[in-house]
């Protein structure tokens, strides 16, 4: 990717204490840290240094964090991890729909931050989508349109397959309900969220060891679903 062996991350947050703590955490985790204290500076820094990942606080003093995200997405696909306050559920969904790769709710632990950051970076580095995706005892063969569980073929309906394929393509990443509904039913299908729950229930029953406590097809509180590989 570039000559620098260590990945660079840009932190856009207005709180100096958070920036300091993030710097300590991230540097100990093997990142080179740049930071910006507001949205405008953040945008110009992002253009200047071309970081490998961006951590963006949604509550910024000058520009709305969502606006910063939209402007970033106009020219770059650099993975973005957004930080939100807990009382803004809707904001998370908007950020994910606007192209954020993952989110963390404040307050969060340093370990979790590093894990998420590595995960989105890893995904960004994968250039070609593999033909076969494996998680747990499940094997998903895209060219053959076949899903196997412990070697046995599992029969999926076309909607179930489409749902699974969408999550597998974005494995590790939250896919919002709205994104899934658009993919499966087209742009005006927001009322189908109920069906989505039913298909997910069926998928879990077919693919999970304990469908009541799913390990791979996980739910993100009121936001969407995520396919977890490990």
């Amino acid at each position: 990717m570039n000559n620098n062996p260590l990945p660079r991350v840009l932190v856009i947050d207005d709180e100096v204490q958070i920036r300091r703590l993030l710097r300590v955490t991230l540097e100990s985790g093997g990142f080179i840290v740049h930071d910006a204290e507001n949205g405008r500076l953040g945008l110009s820094e992002a253009a200047a240094i071309q970081p490998e990942a961006i951590i963006l606080d949604l509550g910024l003093p000058d520009l709305d964090g969502l606006e910063v995200l939209r402007r970033l997405r106009e020219w770059t696909r650099t993975p973005v991890l957004v930080l939100t306050a807990r009382d803004r559920e809707q904001q998370k969904i908007e950020a994910l729909d606007a192209g954020a790769d993952d989110y963390l709710t404040k307050p969060f632990g340093g370990g979790e931050l590093l894990a998420r950051l590595r995960a989105i970076q890893r995904r960004a580095n994968v250039t070609n989508d593999p033909a076969i995706v494996r998680f747990g005892e499940i094997e998903m063969d895209f060219p053959a349109r076949v899903v196997r569980r412990a070697g046995q073929e599992v029969h999926l309906t076309s909607k179930e397959y489409a749902l699974l394929r969408l999550l597998a393509q974005h494995r590790g990443k939250v896919v919002t309900h709205r994104q899934i509904l658009r993919e499966l039913w087209g742009p005006n299908a927001e009322e189908n969220t109920g069906y989505l729950r039913v298909y997910m229930l069926h998928l879990r029953q077919k693919l999970e060891k304990d469908p009541k406590q799913p390990h791979h097809l996980t739910n993100e509180s009121g936001i969407g679903y995520r396919l977890v590989e490990e």
């Binding site: 009382d87 109920g194 989505l196 739910n219 009121g222």
Partner: protein, 888 residues
């Protein structure tokens, strides 16, 4: 009448306080009252004004007539005078008081001479007293002068004394606004002396009239009148102060007067008379006009308008109704409005008509009125001769033409048929024709048709023909009886028709108001109500309508978006005037009549909440009945707007009170709940550098607990604030109960460490429609409560399901702790209801948040005992089953 005055009525005191409030904003009005010209009113006013000026008041002379008197002229020296405004009218230039100029200067005190003056056409108001009202309502103090003969209710008496007609009058209601009345008194001898010295200006009046006016006997009578008028006011002021009564708001007696008003000059007198009676009795009064099927001449209509306007000015409630039977209508209105006395003029009608109608008006009133007292006021003889009752037009000339044409046509037919049916049957044809006409045309044209038929039948058909003689006795009998039957039946059918028309009109009015109130009642929001009312008014008055309110942000009058009548600057000016002066204005009125719109203020109690404007096409008009109906509309709208304001105000108060309560709770508990973890963090950070690895482990554990506690506290406070502020809007979406419970369990796994957690969800649990985040948070709170309030190591159970019947989904959190003390359970529920919280962070805030989260989604929280000990909290949420997905 004095009986109820012993103990002040609290309502009355309240009313006075309100009147005081509006008086506080209003300017002070002082009236210098004289018995006749020449007593020195202007002189007194100017002296008082000069004194105020030396005391430092900002005095401005609005208008003063010195009539060249030297002493008076001298008082004007060095006084600031507002130049008069020139108004050109019919090639002449008239000089009038510059009202706008004075309002712009905003002096503290304005001197305005001759209150009864009539302004030149084209001025803002027709009368100077209207200018004065505007000045005091703008907060300016006013001194003014007036003679007793110009006071509306006294002008008749003055004319009776002096014989001189009074042209310009001032309504009595302006004296209700006066804070002070100063009688400028002079003995008749002194006045006559001044007169002989030429010090009295008498205007354009002829010298003979002067002599008559200033006769000593007359002067005595006028003086007495002026003294009595002043004394009455003083008496009332004293009474007002004693009872705490702003006279027009609360009446002392259970009496209520009703006066019948018609299009006659005599009615004017009746109205004034009734006003005096009502004043004396301290009773409210109604002026009732009964519209009959007869059409009034424009002259009569004008006089009627004037009489009703006078009644309104004198403080009457005006009621207009439709009926051909005057007595029945008056009794009906009297009963509807609980009137105790009816005032009518002494009958002038002839005895023959009385006989037909079944007695004179008074007789019939007495008979039908039951308990209602009937007062009869005699008309003055002299007046009756001078002022004839204005002529009523005898219905439409077209109806006569129609009657003539039909009768002639029947005559032709009769001529053709007489050979076959005989001349007697032709009489029947005429009879049928007259009855038929009665169904279509008025009484007088029917009478005309009847008489014409009688003449034609006799002359053309009854032998000997072509004479007015009747040959046989048989024919004579037949002729007379047929004619009588025709005349009577024609009259009766015509009257029935008129009555049904009146009833229809009454019905229409009642229906219009009923529909309005129903539409207003059905409207969910104020905007809906206004929209419904305006559309209905558009139809009813065939006009464009507008409604304007005060914009809360700008403080200006802004038209409602549903208005169909777009107000330009000029129209807004009139609407504004009507709003601020709480009086009708614009077209058809005395105030700014050159404008296109007619404006009715929406009055609620003593303040205006908006203005209703109506623009009828320029050739159209608003009948009295329509204006009355419009006022009915305005009244209902005002009521609905006021109700909306009150509701908004009480809602604001409620939110304020709740948030105050919350603030109080926060202050109390936050200090404790925040300081504890903060103390832990401080202590840990101090001890950490010197701690060995074992202690370090313990300290870090404490640190984490403290931070979690802080985190939870902040989260709860934020949630509580969102709930209280009403900004929390649930986002209902389908959710898998497993996901909800897993999320809650995941979030509390640290707090529940070391406990057995039993999760129970039926296999066929369908998706439920809830707000995921709120439900998850409610469960987290319940699980944390269980962790905090039960002994370590005891199990906790969480389950979900659908109630039998499938209408409700439930989540249950149960523990094996001590349970809720039964004595406290009621208080928990009370807390929920009130949203009160005993202590933050603990049970109080936690459970009240659960309650808030669940009720926001339309659910409820139930607390019970777990069998075998422990608490059991059940969250009920409304449930509708999900349709099965379409087959693929």
């Amino acid at each position: 009448m004095d009986a109820p005055l012993h103990r002040p009525d609290p309502d009355a005191i309240l009313a006075r306080l309100r009147a005081d409030e509006s008086r506080a904003k209003r300017g002070h009005l002082k009236v210098f009252l004289g018995m006749c010209p020449g007593v020195g009113k202007t002189y007194s006013m100017l002296r008082n004004g000069r004194k105020e000026r030396t005391d430092g008041t900002d005095v401005l002379i609005g208008v003063v007539e010195t009539h060249g008197r030297v002493e008076t002229q001298a008082l004007l020296d060095e006084m600031p005078i507002q130049p008069r405004k020139e108004i050109s009218y019919k090639n002449a230039v008239l000089k009038e008081m510059d009202l706008e100029g004075i309002l712009a200067k905003k002096p503290a005190l304005v001197l305005v001479d001759e209150l009864a003056h009539t302004n030149a056409p084209g001025s803002r108001h027709a009368k100077r007293w209207q200018d004065v009202i505007e000045l005091i309502e703008a907060g300016l103090d006013v001194f003014t002068t007036v003679n007793i003969q110009h006071i509306e209710s006294r002008s008749d008496a003055v004319r009776q004394i002096t014989g001189a007609p009074v042209q310009e009058t001032v309504p009595d209601s302006i004296f209700e606004l006066a804070d002070e009345i100063e009688l400028v008194d002079l003995t008749p001898e002194a006045l006559r002396e001044r007169l002989s010295e030429g010090k009295v200006y008498l205007g354009e009046r002829a010298a003979t009239a002067q002599e008559n006016f200033f006769k000593e006997a007359h002067l005595d009578a006028l003086r007495e009148l002026a003294l009595r008028f002043t004394a009455e006011r003083v008496d009332r002021q004293v009474r007002d102060r004693r009872t705490g009564d702003a006279k027009r708001v609360v009446w002392h007696s259970g009496q209520r007067l009703l006066v019948a008003v018609g299009p006659s000059p005599f009615s004017t007198q009746l109205v004034r008379r009734t006003r005096r009676m009502s004043d004396f009795a301290g009773a409210p009064w109604l002026a009732v006009h009964v519209e009959t099927s007869r059409t009034l001449t424009p002259e009569a209509q004008r006089l009627l308008d004037k009489n009703l306007a006078l009644a309104r000015e004198l403080g009457a409630e005006v009621v207009i109704t439709h009926d051909d039977d005057l007595a029945a209508a008056l009794v009906r209105v009297a009963l509807e409005h609980n009137a105790t006395q009816i005032v009518v003029g002494k009958p002038r009608g002839n005895r023959w008509m009385d006989l037909i109608k079944g007695g004179s008006l008074v007789d019939r009133l007495v008979r039908m009125g039951g308990d209602i007292d009937i007062y009869m006021v005699p008309a003055e003889e002299s007046k009756k001769r001078r002022m004839q009752m204005p002529e009523l037009s005898w219905a439409n000339p077209r109806e006569y033409l129609l009657a003539l044409a039909v009768v002639l046509a029947v005559t032709v037919v009769g001529f053709a048929l007489t050979k076959y049916i005989g001349y007697r049957s032709v009489g029947c044809l005429y009879l049928l024709t007259v009855i038929g006409l009665g169904l279509r045309i008025g009484r007088w044209p029917v009478l005309f048709a009847g008489l014409l038929s009688a003449v034609l039948w006799n002359y053309l058909f009854i032998p000997p023909v072509f004479t007015f003689l009747i040959g046989s006795l048989d024919d004579a009998m037949l002729y007379i009886s047929t004619v009588v039957v025709a005349l009577v039946t024609g009259q009766l059918t015509s009257r029935i028709r008129a009555q049904s028309r009146n009833e229809r009109l009454r019905e229409e009015r009642a229906t219009a108001l009923f529909q309005l109130s129903r539409a207003l009642g059905a409207a969910k929001t104020l905007d809906d109500a206004v929209f419904a009312a305006l559309r209905q008014a558009d139809d009813l008055f065939s006009a464009e309508t507008a409604l304007a309110f005060i914009d809360e942000n700008t403080g200006d009058l802004a038209p409602h978006f549903a208005s169909s009548f777009a107000l330009d600057n000029k129209e807004t000016g009139v609407a504004d005037w009507s709003f601020h002066n709480r009086r009708v204005a614009g077209r058809f009125t005395d105030t700014l009549p050159a404008n296109a719109g007619y404006y009715v203020p929406l009055l609620s109690e003593d303040k205006a909440v908006g203005v209703l404007g109506v623009k009828v096409p320029s050739e159209g008009t608003l009948t009295l009945a329509q204006r009355d109906l419009l006022e009915g509309f305005a009244h209902q709208l005002a009521h609905i707007i006021e109700r909306d304001h009150l509701r908004a105000a009480s809602e604001r108060e409620r939110i304020l009170a709740e948030s105050e309560k919350l603030h109080h709770t926060l202050l109390e508990s936050v200090s404790h709940e925040l300081r504890t973890p903060l103390a832990v963090i401080t202590s840990v950070s101090e001890n950490l550098p010197n701690a060995d690895s074992g202690l370090r482990e313990i300290l870090l554990g404490e640190l984490q607990t403290a931070v979690r506690r802080l985190n939870r506290l902040v989260r709860n406070l934020l949630d509580q604030t969102r709930l209280e502020s009403g900004t929390l809007k649930p986002l209902l979406d389908w959710a898998d109960a497993h996901d909800v419970i897993n999320a809650a369990v995941d979030a509390t796994k640290d707090a529940l460490a070391g406990r057995q957690l039993m999760v129970q969800i039926p296999d066929d649990m369908p998706p439920v429609r809830v707000d995921f985040a709120l439900t998850e948070q409610a469960l987290i709170n319940l699980l944390l409560n269980a962790a905090n309030h039960t002994p370590a190591g005891t199990p906790v159970a969480i389950s979900a399901g659908i109630e039998q019947g499938g209408r409700q989904a439930f989540f249950v959190v149960a523990d094996k702790g001590p349970g809720f003390p039964s004595a406290m359970r009621d208080r928990f529920f009370k807390k929920f209801v009130r949203g009160e919280n005993a202590r933050a962070g603990g049970l109080g805030l936690g459970l009240s948040l659960v309650q808030g989260f669940i009720t926001a989604q339309g659910g409820e929280v139930l607390i019970s005992d777990e069998p075998g000990g422990g608490a059991r909290i059940m969250l009920h949420l409304p449930h509708t089953p999900l349709q099965n997905p379409p087959a693929e």
